[in-house]
Symmetry: D2
């Protein structure tokens, strides 16, 4: 099974974080010309530079992951009053603004060619509440709503904008190998996942590819969570 992405130019953002590494690896194995962008996006002008430098973009994998130190996923008992303005602000800067801006910057060339795919990598946490993750979920909720509406708007231009929403997938931001080495933490997670195991990044990457393969999806956020969200 190979060559599924031959002749496709793919831009992957935050390529070194979250689902970025397995996406880059799988997409290259499938023949894509992958631009593995590692820019920080705090500066609004970064987006324009990245897109211009990229040239033609057939597929945009809009993968954004915020700084993990802000609100650890294990903090299950966080007091509801505990988040600070800075926590949400950070998620806006790392997750929401970059998505809005890069989609806006990339769409004109796709609409003009009447061809393009955008795969957001967001989260399934909006679909099922996790105590302690209120502002993280608010940021992911903003992303998912944005995918839904813009996915609808651009479908008629033959641009497919959908998202995958990972949960309980090993990655270097929220489900780090350090965290999962703690047997107790790991057991706690596994006990909540119908599949009985943590997912692998490549499984999410495969679905990012699949979403890309389907021309009749628009504005969907597909949870990939081992059955945790149904």
């Amino acid at each position: 099974m190979s060559g599924r992405l031959e002749d496709r130019r793919v831009l992957v953002t935050h390529a070194e974080r979250y689902i970025g590494p397995p996406v880059v690896e799988l997409f290259r194995r499938e023949g894509a010309d992958v631009i593995a962008d590692q820019s920080e996006y705090a500066d609004p002008s970064t987006v324009q530079e990245v897109v211009e430098r990229a040239g033609r973009i057939d597929v945009l994998v809009a993968n954004f992951a915020g700084p993990p130190h802000i609100m650890p996923v294990t903090n299950m008992l966080t007091d509801a009053t505990a988040f600070e303005d800075e926590d949400f602000e950070a998620y806006l800067q790392e997750l929401v603004w970059p998505l809005l801006r890069i989609v806006r910057a990339t769409l004109p060339q796709m609409i003009e060619r009447r061809s393009g795919k955008i795969v957001g990598v967001t989260s399934a946490t909006r679909l099922r509440a996790i105590p302690g993750l209120s502002v993280y979920s608010a940021a992911r909720g903003a992303q998912n709503a944005f995918v839904q509406v813009v996915g609808n708007e651009v479908a008629a231009h033959n641009v497919q904008f959908n998202a995958i929403g990972p949960a309980h997938i090993a990655n270097n931001m929220y489900y780090t190998s350090e965290m999962l080495e703690d047997e107790e933490v790991r057991e706690q997670f596994v006990s909540e996942i119908p599949a009985g195991r943590i997912g692998e990044g490549e499984e999410a990457a495969e679905l990012a590819l699949a979403t890309d393969a389907s021309d009749f999806l628009a504005g969907q956020v597909i949870p990939i969570s081992g059955g945790w969200v149904t």
Copy 2:
């Protein structure tokens, strides 16, 4: 039917906008002691002042509505690239930040008393896409996700935090009487609503009250849309 809110102290934010006016009217008729706050919330410190001035708050109706001039609901054909950073920024300032902050400021007294209700007034637009409303929906999506998570966190403290998500309800922000006087616009809306009519603000207010009445709801966003969202 009256007296349903006797001896309840209710704080209603943006009391002069959106679903605020019918909530204030109905809740007063039902015997509540209503603080109809009309503060602007651009300044982060406003929230603390409003909550301190209010004293005991049994029910918080967190009703926030952004400036209607930014992205009119009738702009159905908006190019996906048309929104500016300022548009989303405005929605964050008017809708999202005030909600996060006022909930955080009000929860401690409710948790301490082990009693309280928070009714968010958000929107059903996240549940069904409307082309042209991408950043508005992103802001409402952030609100809804926040309700969902915090509603779960505080349920064990006997504080019920839920939301109503109006759509196609007449109000002075998004479905103004000026807008609805245009026969063509009105017809277009009505044709999309299974109920065959625009909703009245009081119908949303009634459900805000009802949500409040139910002690076994937590983190729910109830769309009220005449069947438009199902």
Copy 3:
């Protein structure tokens, strides 16, 4: 708080089961003329007789609950292959067919008067999977889908058809006092409910009333689950 249902003729089905008893009690306290029907509905002609005998029906509470011996809610480890045709057949006969038929039989008079409310009492289990309840959930899923579509169809006739979907609410069918007396079973349930307690039947009844109060809901299934479903 009383008199909210004065002059309303209400038919409650399976009045002695599930959410029937608290609905009958609350609705009577609120002034309704309640017909607490206890018919079995195995015979298709029963529906017609019940509706004819009832005469004018302002509100139909379509509360149906199947025989609890078939698939106990505690059977969490049931093999997926374990259900028999008879199990699903029983749920069809007790839950699905009666709902379809009584709604069909009651709608003509409501549509003719351009006034009426139907409140289905279904379940939140379709919205979140419980292992072991596959055919029960299939039956509830059929009910919820039916509410959604017919609720949309009849909204334009000023008939509001919505449902409440209880989960983790004490009742005499699925969450019996016998079951909940087992401390271990009770603890297991409570640990899964964000509200930290089992709901009371009256809380569901209150929302059935509330749904009834709102004229701008159509085809909605409102989960009432202490935050278990969000």
Copy 4:
């Protein structure tokens, strides 16, 4: 792109209907050994015979489509009271019972091998109401709820049971070429699809394959509708 299903034995039910033909074609092109079953399933014993005759089943595509003459999708103005018991009964016999039985019959061998995929082909109609389709939606709703629960139950056995929910996809049962030749009917449909066109069966088949490719999905129903459901 080929060979994605090499060495896989695939059983496709109702192979000559609905999404069956494009699934058979695509899966064969991808190297699968496809059993294109055309049995009627009215007789409960049929399922056992089909499964036994099939031998090893790596992938089951549980594609069931009911007789199109019962409630045409174009009947948008159907009176809510118009369905007959026979209509729902037919959908149960053609859609629901066969799914329940074939999943039950196929799971033991998959669970024993700790390997297997089941892809249900249901419908997105439960996710968005279409007036006139109440009993069709009830039947599809039963299917989707069943997928959700059993998908959760079997995930721990390394069996992935998910579904695709087509809507507005051309097929020989509900969106026939005859129907779509009527320019007015076609225009009406297209006007409701954000993608601006009717989907092709192969697009659904591709996603059936993709669902199959992902090992970390469980109990999901993925709508494929050109953005009609979001």
